[in-house]
């Protein structure tokens, strides 16, 4: 193998699995260390710069970082990264003084943002301090988008959302709330320098099966119903509720139902329990609230009597692989199953809908999906003035994706408004610095905690089920937060090898608790992977290969299960190993030179 180029920021970035997996590339281990040090405000600000909504995300994020977390590969569970973020948000001091100020001088560029959800608010936050004149349009009366209308308050208290929306509104954008954009053509006619579309995926998919029309009064589209609950228009539901669908919206629907009078609430999914789109923890929370999840049942008919819904009929199916290996659901031939109920909530997916975008604006739509054609790097549409982000860009995802899109779109808008090529992206800020403070002293706590993942305390079910606005999760206390933070392996403190200093004494090989390091003759990657001290079977993790050493061998380190304990560096007599902190901050709007 060729020697590893550790000067390429991607190499060590990949080693920081959580940060690499996070769409916004939040420097996770850095803020977790700050939480452990009790520096909650500092931890919060690192998050805020990167993901804009730490308090919201600390409660609602889909946490792509956690399945990626190295801890999950060396013991049972990953670090509770998401809930640690909440610890920073819950315990921070007043951080308003640390927030950017509205620009003293406007730069004369006018930007319109369609929608006031997480993507648009991120664009606003990135552009306002640079002097852009930003106008935010939203049909609702408040900022927040789906964070406000679709996430139940028992998961996300309004005060948390308000605080983080206000940090952005304090930058003084022009807000046109309660003003729904009905025509992009009209908006373009207002001569904005750029327009960002962050209007989400506002349409819930329906289920057209027999009885849909007749029983319509008791069949509700999940996201619309959640909005209605959020605005206080809906305050009750029948005693028996069937929720159709297996995503996070379905989980929010069933749990909300339990709080509005649903005594017997059932979730029914077409496919298997394992295949459900809902996050495992959301399924757990639903089941904890006495909501059974039934699987392999395909809805066949809404039963009704005298214009009133009486139940839903399901066909029993099983998963079978066809000749091509594709998984299909086929009827088992068993009798159909009837779920008697008073109300049905349909949460079988969301769609984008752009009836307000005229098709003669030079803004191409993909004929197959009827979605705007958007560049995956620049977020620019084929109309160079119009940018997309969040669910509006590539269909329903999560808040953290919307934030990531927002940052990149803001970079593009900034480049575009300055006449620069939006395809030439600014580089991230990268730092790699030694953490050695003394012979065996490091600026981080390298002693690996053996604690298993701590559970977040919940408020008692008897109370939470009675109040649709009462937050269920209490969050980690500071003490628990500290202990959970100590589980972090500090994957951003990198093992950096200097071959010119190595005397090949084997000290690092002998001490490594995970058998990561091997000195061997060089070979192709598959051969090396098979013959290391411990075979390197995880192909998603790189091998770190040195230049040739004196004995013609090379040092090969499998990054897969390295604990970043630094013992290789502690036992190295010559300092050939050093522990260096890798810090990467993605480029934000305004960071490009001009």
């Amino acid at each position: 193998m060729a020697p590893t180029d550790v000067a390429n920021p991607n190499y060590f970035h990949k080693v920081v699995d959580c940060q690499w997996a996070c769409p916004a590339h939040t420097p996770v281990p850095e803020y977790i260390r700050l939480i452990a040090a009790g520096r909650y405000s500092d931890a919060y600000m690192i998050n805020w710069h990167s993901n804009v909504f730490p308090g919201v995300l600390g409660r609602t994020c889909d946490r792509p970082c956690e399945p990626a977390c190295r801890r999950g590969r060396v013991e049972e569970d990953p670090v509770a990264i998401c809930r640690l973020k909440r610890v920073a948000a819950d315990n921070k001091d007043d951080v308003r003084g640390r927030m950017p100020q509205p620009a003293a001088q406007k730069n004369g560029k006018r930007i319109a943002l369609v929608g006031a959800g997480p993507a648009s608010l991120t664009v606003a936050r990135d552009l306002l301090p640079l002097g852009y004149d930003v106008t935010i349009y939203d049909g609702d009366a408040n900022a927040g988008g789906m964070m406000r209308t679709q996430i139940p308050k028992f998961r996300l208290p309004e005060s948390v959302l308000d605080e983080e929306c206000n940090f952005i509104l304090d930058l003084k954008p022009t807000t046109k709330f309660g003003h729904k954009i009905e025509s992009l053509k009209a908006l373009l006619a207002e001569n904005y320098d750029a327009i960002f579309v962050g209007c989400g995926a506002p349409r819930g998919r329906d289920l057209e099966i027999p009885g849909r029309a007749e029983a319509a009064a008791n069949i509700h589209i999940g996201i619309d119903w959640l909005s209605s609950v959020s605005f206080g228009h809906t305050t009750s539901i029948g005693k028996r509720v069937v929720v159709l669908g297996g995503g996070n919206t379905a989980m929010d629907c069933c749990r909300t139902s339990r709080r509005l009078g649903g005594e017997k609430v059932d979730v029914v999914v077409r496919s298997g329990f394992e295949e459900m789109k809902a996050s495992p923890w959301e399924k757990e929370d639903a089941m904890h609230e006495d909501i059974p999840i039934h699987n392999f049942l395909v809805p066949k008919e809404f039963k009704h009597k005298d214009g009133k819904l009486t139940g839903v009929l399901f066909e029993k199916v099983k998963a079978e692989k066809d000749a091509k290996g594709r998984r299909n659901l086929v009827p088992t031939g068993e009798p159909d199953v009837l779920f008697e109920c008073d109300d049905v909530l349909v949460a079988v997916g969301q769609e984008n809908a752009f009836p307000w975008i005229e098709r003669d604006l030079g803004l191409d739509f993909d004929p197959k999906w009827d979605m705007p054609v958007v560049d995956e790097v620049t977020y620019q549409s084929t109309n160079p003035k119009v940018f997309f982000g969040g669910d509006a860009a590539f269909g329903p995802k999560n808040i953290i994706w919307a934030v990531a899109h927002g940052h990149e779109a803001a970079v593009s808008i900034d480049l575009f408004c300055n006449g620069q090529d939006v395809k030439v992206r600014p580089s991230p800020l990268v730092n790699l610095s030694s953490q050695k403070m003394g012979i065996h002293e490091w600026s981080y706590d390298n002693d690996v905690s053996l604690d298993l993942r701590f559970k977040v305390p919940h408020a008692p079910k008897e109370k939470t089920l009675r109040d649709v606005n009462m937050e269920v999760e209490l969050g980690f206390t500071r003490e628990l937060g500290f202990k959970e933070a100590q589980r972090c392996l500090n994957c951003d403190i990198e093992t950096v090898f200097a071959e010119n200093l190595c005397i090949e004494c084997d000290a690092c090989v002998d001490i490594c608790p995970e058998d990561c390091i091997t000195f061997t003759l060089n070979d192709s990657e598959p051969v090396l992977r098979a013959h290391l001290t411990a075979p390197a079977a995880n192909l998603t993790q790189d091998l770190y290969v040195s230049q040739e050493l004196k004995t013609k061998r090379v040092m090969v380190k499998d990054e897969d299960v390295c604990l970043h304990c630094g013992l290789c560096a502690e036992r190295c007599p010559t300092g050939a190993w050093d522990m260096k902190k890798f810090y990467l901050e993605t480029a934000k709007a305004g960071s490009c030179s001009r």
């Binding site: 065996h440 005397i503 090949e504 004494c505 084997d506 002998d510 608790p513 502690e570 010559t574």
Partner: protein, 350 residues
């Protein structure tokens, strides 16, 4: 030394041995030796050898004297028995322990100071008695704990940072051959591929197995003019054979050229396959081995490998005719068989 304990977490792909242990289960407490010390590599090799042989740690006794080397038994096989004796007196304590309980595997861990200076007499006598043991001399040529004065194994002309050694060296390997050791080897702490099979073969050997392991002292004797530095040993390492240790139950296949391999069967049925790296070297001929060692040493080379091994060797217990049951397990019934037996015994002397 290192301040934190080695984390208990280990690689998820570690294979357990026949006893269900991984090599991590054979570790001891964390080393307090200097970073890069060759002795730590020897400890790691011992861990590997015991893991591969599926040795039960409680059936091992680790004995040592004084010195950097003699601290190391704390750093491997935590659950094994151990005795840290007076300087140079490990061989006597080991001999006594072995006489009392012949069922344990005895690992004598010593250094060049402990074995070749203060304990040279002890070393000589336990070797000539054929005590069943693995005697490992972790040989760095200096007294590390007292800041690096030359020891008795330092080569003449070898230089440290501040001094030149003008005395002739004591070669423990040659000495062991003269004294009748039945398994004699030399290896290098920086070459576990060679050291681990040598340790395994020595552990399976019945009789006194002496292994001299050149183990660089990074702190005081790893400078360019030293003959016990990593670089010097690597440049002058002359391995006479490649060792494959074959456990007694393993199938033995003869897929080698005649004359290139020496097969040695040991008491416990295990086989030692020595692939010759030097065409004339015969590891079963004591006299030739001694001559070869002298010759190569004069040429400035460090000869390594299994230098001599005696098939079907006997040990001290055979010479003494002791019973198969460990003496410490004999009860009053066996030890005081009654007045009739005493009368018989006395009659023999009349």
């Amino acid at each position: 030394m290192t301040y934190i304990a080695k984390p208990k977490l280990h690689h998820p792909g570690l294979k357990p041995n026949k006893l269900g242990f991984t090599h991590r289960d054979y570790e001891g407490s964390i080393s307090t030796l200097c970073a890069g010390c060759g002795h730590d590599s020897i400890s790691a090799a011992l861990i590997q050898a015991c893991y591969e042989l599926s040795i039960e740690p409680y059936k091992v006794a680790k004995l040592s004297g004084i010195g950097c080397s003699s601290k190391t038994p704390d750093y491997f096989l935590g659950p094994a028995h151990g005795f840290n004796s007076v300087h140079g007196r490990m061989p006597s304590v080991l001999t006594g322990a072995n006489l009392a309980n012949r069922d344990l595997l005895y690992l004598g861990v010593s250094g060049d100071g402990d074995s070749a200076s203060i304990g040279l007499g002890q070393f000589a006598h336990c070797v000539r008695r054929g005590v069943n043991m693995v005697y490992i001399c972790e040989n760095n040529g200096v007294y590390g704990l007292t800041k690096g004065q030359f020891s008795a194994t330092a080569d003449k002309g070898s230089r440290s940072k501040t001094a030149v050694n003008n005395d002739s060296p004591i070669d423990l390997v040659s000495l062991a051959l003269v004294l009748g050791a039945t398994f004699v080897a030399r290896s290098f702490s920086g070459d576990k591929k060679q050291l681990v099979p040598i340790l395994k073969a020595a552990m399976a050997h019945k009789g006194s197995a002496i292994i001299d392991v050149v183990s660089p002292c990074v702190q005081f004797n790893n400078n360019p003019q030293s003959t016990k530095s990593y670089d010097f040993v690597r440049e002058h390492n002359e391995a006479v054979n490649r060792i494959d240790f074959i456990e007694s139950k393993a199938e033995i296949t003869a897929d080698y050229e005649p004359g290139t391999v020496t097969m040695v069967r040991q008491h416990d049925g295990s086989m030692l396959k020595l692939s010759k790296l030097h065409p004339d070297y015969d590891a079963t001929d004591r006299a030739k081995a001694m001559a070869y060692l002298q010759e190569r040493h004069a040429a400035g080379e460090v000869v390594t490998g299994v230098l001599f091994v005696e098939e079907q060797a006997d040990d001290l217990h055979d010479a003494l005719g002791t019973v198969a049951t460990p003496l410490n397990n004999l009860t009053e019934r066996e030890l005081c068989p009654g007045s009739a037996k005493l009368a018989d015994l006395n009659a023999d002397y009349r």
